[in-house]
Symmetry: C2
Subunit: 374 residues, 2 copies
Amino acid sequence: MNALLRARYRLTLAPGEDAGLRARQLAREQTVEIPEGVVAPEVEARALGRVEGVEPLGGGRFLATVAFPLAATGGELTQLLNVLWGNVSLWSGVRLESVAWPPELLARFGGPARGAAGLRALSGAEPGRALLATALKPLGLSVRELARRAAEGALGGVDLVKDDHGLADQEWAPFRERVLACQEHVARANRATGGATLYAPNLTGPVDRLAERLETLAEAGCRAALVAPMLLGLDAVRGLAESAGVALLAHPSFAGPLAGGDRGLAPELLFGDLFRLAGADAVIFPNAAGRFPYTLEDCLALEARLAAPMGALRPAALMLGGGIDAAKLESWIPRYGPDTIYLIGGSLYARGAVREAVRELAGVVRRVAPRGAA
Amino acid sequence: MNALLRARYRLTLAPGEDAGLRARQLAREQTVEIPEGVVAPEVEARALGRVEGVEPLGGGRFLATVAFPLAATGGELTQLLNVLWGNVSLWSGVRLESVAWPPELLARFGGPARGAAGLRALSGAEPGRALLATALKPLGLSVRELARRAAEGALGGVDLVKDDHGLADQEWAPFRERVLACQEHVARANRATGGATLYAPNLTGPVDRLAERLETLAEAGCRAALVAPMLLGLDAVRGLAESAGVALLAHPSFAGPLAGGDRGLAPELLFGDLFRLAGADAVIFPNAAGRFPYTLEDCLALEARLAAPMGALRPAALMLGGGIDAAKLESWIPRYGPDTIYLIGGSLYARGAVREAVRELAGVVRRVAPRGAA
């Protein structure tokens, strides 16, 4: 592996700080992590990151391009994260903006096992239209009530029903009982409608119970699952994508401060490139104008990264949630491409009759053309 | 589980925002995540978080106390993190300050399998004195060179030699070969000195290779390992603490933006309470005045949380690193308690003869009394 891994960092410096020096310190921190001159030159020659350029952005900000020896990653996701954002995550004023992914590295990762197209096929949605999803919630409902909601969604023609990320193994609706009942209700509804609504239970849970929970998913016949990469670990998601046999919807729980701001990763890098590299078939992100402070620009940047060429990795779908008002679905669809999944939860349940509300929205995704659709 | 899980959040609001309303929105977001009035009152009664108080802190800041039904966590670490810091991690201006841990919850977690006292016993360090550690680095050295450094450290009388967090399975020093060689060199040095220097290889790596790597550790006779909880997942660390049979040193890689600032967790909560709950026997943190922007106050707050009463959980050791100048070790020891491990890397290697440099520092930790020592 003589290839280079190039990353761009935005440095926000105090007046008088030297951007070139800071960039060289960063390249050192992320690799040999030892003062200059302490180690033999041939070791630095093979292991040290190199600053390739530093451009001023104005306002005390600079964009530094650092080339790391790809061999420093050992081809492992955990160590790749260390090289890109390990120790400098603890610095102030450093933001990882983008990474140029070397083909040699991408070839080591399978990425999404199904991707946006695979999810569409699994849910039986016609090509060229947006997809509709609902969330089973709230926490506190019984298995019976959740299963009934799942069935109503499927009967209404939703493409995908997912567990709320807060449904785990609580006494109110234990994991195994919930998964079996919800999948059975969705399957029965599918038989009645001729549809193929997908049910995605929340798989996020104790690492030593994942195998048992995957068996429950297989027993139930689930073809998708929800995972929270920052709770399970990104590499655990990679492991699941390679072996679990279900499509993975990745939830941004716990990740907020890691993305955005002067210190962190660019949101489209974390939720886009990295979640996709780990194997997310869809990435859940709060839509603009909902309950979360993200803009349309943030969402479009993420959408672009999920679809951008990335070696042989499949494009992943953007699943927009976080308080999309059912009444405004129609106005959102033309702003995003067809591989967008609209996750409508609270505002749907607020309408009362779930099946009818879903049917109306299922009509909207079939009728309104996404951006760029023919 | 009718107990309550109380958490305190610091809200930073824009002028005119209503702190009470924001706190109620937070309690709802973290539990039922559905608008008021949509679900039956008995479901909200059992599942919804409740705001118990909101106090102004001045400057647009407020401290909100929220009581969550403990049952919402299902007793699982992943879901506990969801309840405390899942979706609100995506909000602006919310910082999780502290958690009052219910005994019922703590009883479900083993915490550190050995803790600070166990680590001291494993390394043969006398009670009442600080511990000394070195890091094997840099990345890029061969197995032979790393093993020689490990032996020099042990011969010099260091208590603990750890892999740099960037040593993974690179071609320069493959995991298995490195671990076997370094442990063998340390063991041989221990036989020569009568000491018990611990060697802690970096276990962080692909989840599907952890079992194989643990076998290598067992084969080598290692009694400690380095893990990066934000790369492996906190729950993976919990799983390792319960079953791996080695003491765990937790590294803060990747975690920076999650801790501190107006948006994030208080550093002493993330690296203190949560790392300890997950089972870290020692927590690595950058000392004040090193290469990282943390203060003595930050370090002391973390030290306090690692030692504070927390059910039956063992106290964990604070391992200070991040550029401690060997020449200043003597001045740091009286500022921290005896369960502190000083990790000295770069400045030690800069001194040239490792064994002699370590011997001098090993003399310092034996001679200088920690804070509060008799």
